[in-house]
Point group: C2
Chain length 321, copies 2
């Protein structure tokens, strides 16, 4: 039976199901050196999250016909997998793009409100017995324009909740399906700059590639208006629960520090884990440690989806993603 | 012209408008001793938020026909004003119940997601350079029952956003308008216990009175289910952005500490300012310093409403609230 390596963990239920299928399941996280030494030739498939880096060097150690034939990414982004090298080795790569949508949507809305209402700051001060009621005046999301960079499944989910909060939805997406944008009452912009010029609040929902690297930078932050369409001065707010590197953290730091940017909320960073970043010196920054998909529900759905993908692969059905 | 005392601050725009009406506006916060010494006889009206305590003793110093004839509460709750004594002295008391609705709605949703996704905790750890990705697994709001204690304007606003997040809405309100509940797809419960027995998430939106004092207590917390209707184990979550005292903080502390309660988020407390509470020792508590109405937009609307109320009062029109 197929030997499956679970490299970055998976839901207990999914592992139980794989064992019911009589697959041999090994839960083990190898170091980069071990991966380079060719251990992938001991398995038929590997399931990773983002911690395991299957770069070109690692994948070049795989012997065709002997080593892994399938890489399952338990999550969305595949920037930790060298697709080109995998293709060369005829390894099938699948991800689970839909399983974590709702979890990321909820975290994005949580970060938006935490920013505009100083939730992390208020709590931090309470824990120091400082009652910062007067200095923590916030602003409402209602009556403001939310600019979504990308309008895929997650952005569409965010737009539904943000609309219920009274925001107007704007987006930029070079691959946009106009009918979906129209269904969501979303104003489409022809380029990124126009999006920034129209929105006091920006949320990033695209993948990281050479076109989106540092797409959010100091110059574009300064294009954003500081007043909502309701006339109130809310300042500029940016959230990123998509991928690190889309925001130029150095530029954002400067804008936060000089007051051009009112708040920044990040779940993802240019370098993870975040360590000794200057951002944490600032009161108007707050962050979470890349937990967009980190919910019981998303991990269960991801596990179920991986089980289905493996089952289909090893019974010779073509996987969808 | 009327002399108006602004005791706890008001929006600049509203003060400017009062001066345009040629009212004499004095911005000054008196101590409780000064209030007891009869200073209210130097004014025709006083505008307070929650900091100024106009209790029976203070109001008994007012001389009818000479002192204040009007108390404006820039906000909702009037528990800092002794209405009985005010009535005796023929002082009209008005509040501005609608102005802060949206701000409280947004803070409530923000606290709900901050609880289920550990936003304050994650940020606190990031600032200590701790990448707590693994331990901060959360749960989704989608697929869960939200129980609203009270179904007035704020609860209705919360229900709209929570529905967009995929929650099912339940409520208990002895004064409920059933047609409004039906419009909001809200399941009405006949008593408080039934509400708790059906909901993994509870948010408080009633006023504080003898019937609601310690309405949320350890016994009721233990009535709540720990699984959502989607089958996932999310635990029990409670939010209070209404009034301190509705939650028994001692009981909630015990439930949080022994794991019966998964999270508690408070904007209001039994004693404010919160100081040296045991709650801040717990990771699964987070709080804000009574900032429900503390937004630029709410304060502007409150100011405008107070101006209208004063104008109507001093031109002999009957105020609405």
């Amino acid at each position: 039976m197929p030997r499956i390596l679970i490299s970055d963990g998976m839901s207990d239920e999914a592992i139980r199901k794989l064992r019911e299928l009589e697959y041999e399941v090994i839960e083990k996280h190898y170091s980069q050196d071990e991966l380079l030494s060719g251990v992938l030739n001991n398995y038929d498939a590997i399931i990773v999250r983002s911690a395991t880096k299957l770069n070109g060097q690692v994948l070049s150690t795989v012997e065709e016909g002997k080593g892994i034939k399938f890489i399952g990414r338990a999550g969305v982004g595949v920037d930790n997998i060298n697709i080109e090298e995998a293709t060369k080795k005829k390894i099938v790569v699948c991800n689970t793009p839909q399983s974590s949508t709702q979890s990321v949507v909820e975290l994005t809305i949580g970060h938006l409100i935490s920013s505009t209402r100083h939730i992390a700051t208020g709590d931090r001060k309470l824990r120091k017995n400082i009652w910062a009621k007067k200095e923590l005046r916030g602003t409402e999301l209602s009556g403001k324009n939310l600019g979504l960079v990308g309008f895929g499944r997650i952005a569409q989910g965010v737009s539904k909740v943000a609309s219920a909060l009274g925001m107007n939805i704007h987006c930029y997406d070079p691959f946009i399906d106009e009918s979906i944008a129209n269904e969501n009452n979303c104003t489409i912009h022809a380029n990124v700059n126009d999006l920034f010029k129209n929105c006091t609040h920006i949320s990033v929902h695209c993948s990281l590639n050479k076109d989106t690297y540092h797409l959010v930078n100091q110059e574009r932050i300064n294009m954003m208006p500081e007043y909502g369409f309701d006339g109130s001065k809310c300042g500029r707010h940016i959230v990123n629960c998509a991928r690190g590197g889309i925001i130029d953290e150095e530029g954002a730091f400067i804008a936060l520090n000089n007051g051009d940017l009112m708040s920044l909320a990040l779940d993802v960073y240019e370098n993870e884990p975040l360590y000794k970043s200057r951002l944490i010196e600032l009161e108007n920054f707050h962050g979470s440690p890349h937990i967009g998909a980190s919910t019981v529900e998303a991990q269960n759905r991801i596990g179920q989806e991986i089980v289905t993908l493996l089952k289909d692969f090893f019974s010779d059905k073509r996987p969808p993603n």
